[in-house]
């Protein structure tokens, strides 16, 4: 996905989270009835994403139910650690400073980074929330 496509999704109001992929794990999650031994289970993928959705760089956990998959081993994660991905969220919750989200069938999509994320054109003024050490005296 290019940056323009990403922007289009945002402008359309899609709920998405962009972050650096840090790892993933597939699990067989579910519940077991202790009395009868019966179980309801499903395969779920857990993605670990590094992002700054609360202003500070933190890990977010995103879950995805994998319908039609019987074994966690069948789930493949062809994602590159450290690369930026967009997650199309179905929902999320922010509890005590921890972000947890869940996505539907649409998996993480890589974002093509043609240029540096924080790069600014040469000669552009610094962002307002940054203080330049050249103009601020360090000691009086």
């Amino acid at each position: 996905m290019t940056r323009d496509e990403l922007l289009q999704h945002i402008l359309r109001g899609r709920l998405l989270l962009v972050g650096e992929f840090r790892g993933a794990h597939a699990e067989s999650a579910g519940y077991v009835d202790q009395r009868t031994g019966e179980a309801v289970s499903y395969v779920r993928a857990i993605y670990l994403v590094e992002c700054a959705c609360r202003g500070i760089l933190d890990r977010a956990i995103i879950r995805q139910k994998r319908l039609g998959v019987e074994e966690p081993e069948q789930v493949k994660f062809p994602y590159e650690k450290g690369k930026l991905y967009a997650f199309f969220l179905e929902g999320f919750k922010l509890e005590r400073g921890h972000f947890s989200g869940w996505i539907g069938d649409r998996g993480p999509e890589p974002i093509e980074t043609g240029e540096e994320v924080d790069g600014a054109p040469s000669g552009a003024p610094p962002p307002l929330n940054l203080v330049s050490s050249q103009t601020t005296p360090q000691s009086v």
Binding site: G30, Y31, D33, Q34, V40, S41, R59
Partner: protein, 216 residues
């Protein structure tokens, strides 16, 4: 899926063992408050159990967007709908609808348990079993099985947690270990190199004991 919904599904499987289930819907002509509906449901259930003492089933409350609170019922035995209608009228209920369903369709009712709980239904039992002679699954009978719960159980053993104290601090520790487990590829419920948590030093787990809890 919540634990409560899982317990409901297990209970419905027990109820539908002989594959003969009936789904009932009880509604009102007029829109009633949630509390009044509950009172009327209790009265109706009393009347139904008096008329059919062997009646077994599950009830689910559904707060409809337009029609207020109504009750869905699954029973495993046939009861005379005309007699049930008389009892429902006596208890102040309006329309009754009944339909025979295959046992596997009972999960349809579980969708009402997936809805986000509205404020007025907080602390309510959204579903309940009724009738004597059967042993429905309770929420406490259900155990969750996931990476998170397995790490939680390992931490519980390591930290000798008892009771429910410092809940949020526990959750923060388990979440941190979940993140480390995925990122570092650790075995579930173990630290680096397959070591049990109690054998790992704080630096290995990158864990520092924290005395405060995040306020939001």
């Amino acid at each position: 899926m919540t634990k409560s919904k899982a317990a409901f599904l297990f209970a419905s499987r027990t109820l539908g063992k002989d594959n003969r289930l009936f789904m009932w819907t009880f509604t009102f002509k007029d829109l009633l408050s949630v509390k009044d509906t509950r009172k009327k449901w209790n009265y109706l259930l009393t009347l139904l159990l008096r008329a059919w003492p062997m009646l077994q089933g599950l009830r689910v409350f559904e707060l409809h967007e337009e029609h207020g609170l109504h009750v869905h019922l699954v029973t495993n035995s046939f009861i005379d709908v005309n007699r049930a209608r008389v009892l429902a009228e006596k208890a102040g209920w309006g329309r009754i609808h009944v339909k025979r369903i295959p046992a596997e369709r009972v999960s349809y009712l579980a969708k009402y348990l997936s809805k986000e709980r509205v404020e007025c239904l907080k602390r309510w039992r959204l579903w309940a079993a009724f009738g004597a002679g059967w042993n429905p699954t309770k929420v406490k009978d259900v155990i969750s099985d996931s990476v998170f719960s397995r790490i939680y159980r390992a931490c519980k053993e390591w930290q000798a947690w008892t009771g429910k104290g410092r809940f949020f601090e526990r959750m923060a520790l388990v979440r941190m270990l979940l993140i480390k487990t995925i990122e570092e590829g650790w075995e579930i419920g173990f630290g680096p190199c397959g070591k049990p948590y109690w054998m790992c030093c704080d630096e290995e787990l990158e864990w520092r004991h924290c005395d405060f809890e995040a306020p939001f």
